[in-house]
Amino acid sequence: MTIELTTADDAIRFGRSLGMSLRAGDLVLLAGPLGAGKTTMTRGIADGMGVSGRVSSPTFVLARVHSAPDGGVALVHVDAYRLGGDLSELDDLDLDAELEQSAVVVEWGEGLAEPLSEDRLVVRIERHADDTRTVSFEPHGTWKARVDTLP
């Protein structure tokens, strides 16, 4: 299954519906080249989850926690762009512990963050010359059954 996104608003709208279906323990890996719109999509995810704080690419701190009011599921937004491809470089972020209460979204996490959770969804964004995007999915664990519920 693939979907087409024509504008940045489409990416936010898709992110929002993905965010609404996220639960604690979910790992979402956003893959795609620079400028594909991974952070924009994460903004939508945060909106869909109803978490607080401004979403921007956490390249300096690598991870930012957006907590949910009333103790709901928090969003941990990770940018692994700078890292060398070794999960132990992420150890300090204690994502294993975060996943007990949060959904974790990792930009540039493919080939790195997979061991963190069996319930993971790879979202691959392809950017075309006319600036439209094609999004495809690679579901694992419970996402195999859940991916069909995405719009």
Binding site: G53, R54, S56, S57, T59, F60, V61, L62, A63, V65, R82, L83, G84, S88, E89, L90, D91, D92, L93, D94
Partner: protein, 348 residues
């Protein structure tokens, strides 16, 4: 009699331990400022790697404390209070400093003050220039922070007037340095390259300066992208990239926006003093432009010396001294680090 305050900083990649004397007349004197940095270990990643930073803090904490006491010629039993950065910063890095501070405070049986890193960057100025006139404004620019703050009381009343909506200024320096094949951290090499360049050569955009933009917020993401596009364009045409001109024009765009907004905020608020601090405050163009514009506007400018502007323990000790002198209640020993500590919380 003067009180001796020990300060511990570990929010990012510098392990800092400082010692200050808080005198009865309200002045705070610097006695020792020891820093161990893991910056070289992060260089190849183009930015701080939290796991590496935390490991380095653990290794450096006690040796750096040793060095601070040696440098000051004091013994641990001379300490009257321990202050520590409780946030904001990297969670695991903060944890090391906060844990050490609690242990020192418990073993020495003295009060513990968990304080705000950003407020520390302002308080450090009192070590060099004496008590802060209040209210004043502070512009904090570093790898992780870009903020414009109003200070009514360094020990308790700090409010945010504006901040970056995306990248910090220092982060933009690091990314542009990478584009230009200059080393990490990007501030010093860009500053150096810019000396031989023309700051007007390329008109890079000034973020958040449109009529509908928030007056005192900043944005550096668009500037970074504009530099990337410009460099890619030149490379695509097979031209040699004029590194000095790109560096100078980029630096001009950063310094222009930062100083224009800071001076405008001070003027509008009728505040007579501006403090510029944080790692990027050492940048030569930023300080020159700030000096010119503050002079024009009749604002007193205070910039701590570069060593005090970057992360260190002395700034935390200085803030601890002001907080203790104000008579605030010490922190509890079950204090936890808060990576997202808001700037208006000076003491946890």
């Amino acid at each position: 009699m003067a009180k001796i305050i020990m300060g511990i900083e570990s929010s990012c990649d510098e392990t800092g331990v400082g010692l200050v004397a808080a005198h009865d007349d309200g002045t705070v004197e610097l006695l020792a400022d020891e820093v161990a940095s893991s910056v070289e270990q992060h260089a190849r990643f183009g930015g701080v790697v939290p796991e590496i930073a935390s490991r380095a803090h653990l290794e450096a904490m006690v040796p750096t404390t040793h060095r601070a006491f040696d440098a000051a010629g004091l013994s641990m039993s001379d300490v009257d209070a321990v202050a520590v950065t409780a946030g904001p910063g990297l969670a695991g890095a903060l944890l090391v400093g906060v844990s050490a501070a609690k242990a020192y405070a418990a073993a020495l049986d003295v009060p513990l003050y968990g304080v705000n890193h950003l407020a520390g960057h302002i308080a450090v100025d009192t070590l060099q220039h004496g008590p802060l006139p209040t209210p004043c404004l502070a512009l904090l620019v570093s790898g992780g922070h870009t903020q414009l703050l109003r200070v009514d009381d360094i020990a308790g009343a700090i409010t945010e007037i504006g901040s970056t909506v995306d990248d910090a200024a220092g982060e933009a320096y690091d990314k542009v340095a990478r584009l230009l094949d200059l080393p990490y951290p990007g501030g010093p090499p860009i500053d150096k390259a810019a000396r031989d360049g023309d700051p007007q050569a390329i008109a890079f955009p000034r973020g958040m300066t449109g009529p509908r933009d928030a007056k005192f917020d900043f944005s550096f993401s668009g500037l970074k992208t504009a530099v990337a596009r410009w460099v890619e364009g030149a490379q695509g045409r097979g031209e040699e990239v004029p590194v000095a001109d790109v560096a100078a024009s980029f630096q001009e765009a950063v310094a222009d926006v930062l100083t224009a907004k800071a001076v405008r905020a001070a003027t509008e608020a009728g505040v007579g003093t501006l403090v510029v601090s944080g790692g990027v405050a050492a940048n030569s163009r930023l300080s020159t432009l700030a000096r010119e514009r503050c002079a024009e506007a009749g604002i007193e400018l205070r910039i701590p010396r570069p060593r005090l502007c970057t992360d260190n323990g002395a700034m935390i000790a200085a803030l601890g001294a002001h907080v203790a002198a104000a008579g605030h209640k010490p922190s509890s020993l079950d204090l936890s680090a808060n990576p997202g500590l808001p700037v208006d919380t000076v003491l946890v």
